[in-house]
Symmetry: C2
Subunit: 109 residues, 2 copies
DNA sequence: GGAGTTGTTTGATGTTTGTCAAACGATTCT
DNA sequence: AGAATCGTTTGACAAACATCAAACAACTCC
């Protein structure tokens, strides 16, 4: 009973090694900028295209975008069973680039 | 006498048509992010690679990057004689995406 | 007018990227 | 065990991209 499904974390850059140019490159794509909008509420989401408003994309394409976001340091991914729970690394990004995430989320179309 | 060299302006998107995803794509490149650092002081610069700390790049490559920045709405270019004077569109970007440019410039490596 | 300057444009080349499809791995359910 | 689910990995392919080189255009200076 008392055991929650904690799961493992997929590899991601250390908070201090997040590079601005990689973050901007990750977000400089229509699909991934839309993902930022999804994650902006701080909640975690699975990778299912339908759950992300990306029904027009193949699941492997979504997986590809997920990897780029994670390797850029924008998102973190927790593995529980078959599911992946992805969310914004808000604290890490705020610490590394103060004000950037807030400005970006406000600027979202 | 009283006449200053005003010159013409190269085509650029209207302030309200600047798209966030294009701005991020423009800045998600090592060379162009470095250019942002150059322009961060608000001054205008010529396109000479040497004047921009881009001595390792061919002049046509610099011209290519200039065009991407300008078409994304990041910079504006004034033509005076043989020279181009390029600078940040700080007012337009601040109006469109409040706080973004400040956060970006502070986050620059 | 001719030479030098400043940057653009076009073509070529190798790299990266976004996408899908198929195969696979791990997990969960029956 | 067998089947279904969730997501990753690999391969393939076209489009976009960064870069250089050469030709070009416009301007300035002698």
């Amino acid at each position: 009973m008392g055991d929650e499904p904690i799961g493992e974390w997929l590899a991601q850059p250390d908070a201090r090694e997040i590079e601005l140019v990689k973050v901007l490159h990750a977000l400089g794509d229509p699909v991934r900028l839309r993902l930022l909008k999804v994650y902006a509420d701080g909640e975690q989401y699975s990778c299912a295209p339908g759950a992300l408003g990306l029904d027009h994309l193949h699941k492997s394409t979504v997986s590809h975008h997920m990897r780029i976001m994670r390797e850029a340091g924008v998102t973190s991914t927790r593995v529980v069973g078959r599911s992946r729970y992805v969310r914004l690394r808000r604290d890490d990004l705020d610490a590394r680039f103060p004000g950037l995430l807030d400005a970006l989320i406000k600027a979202l179309p």
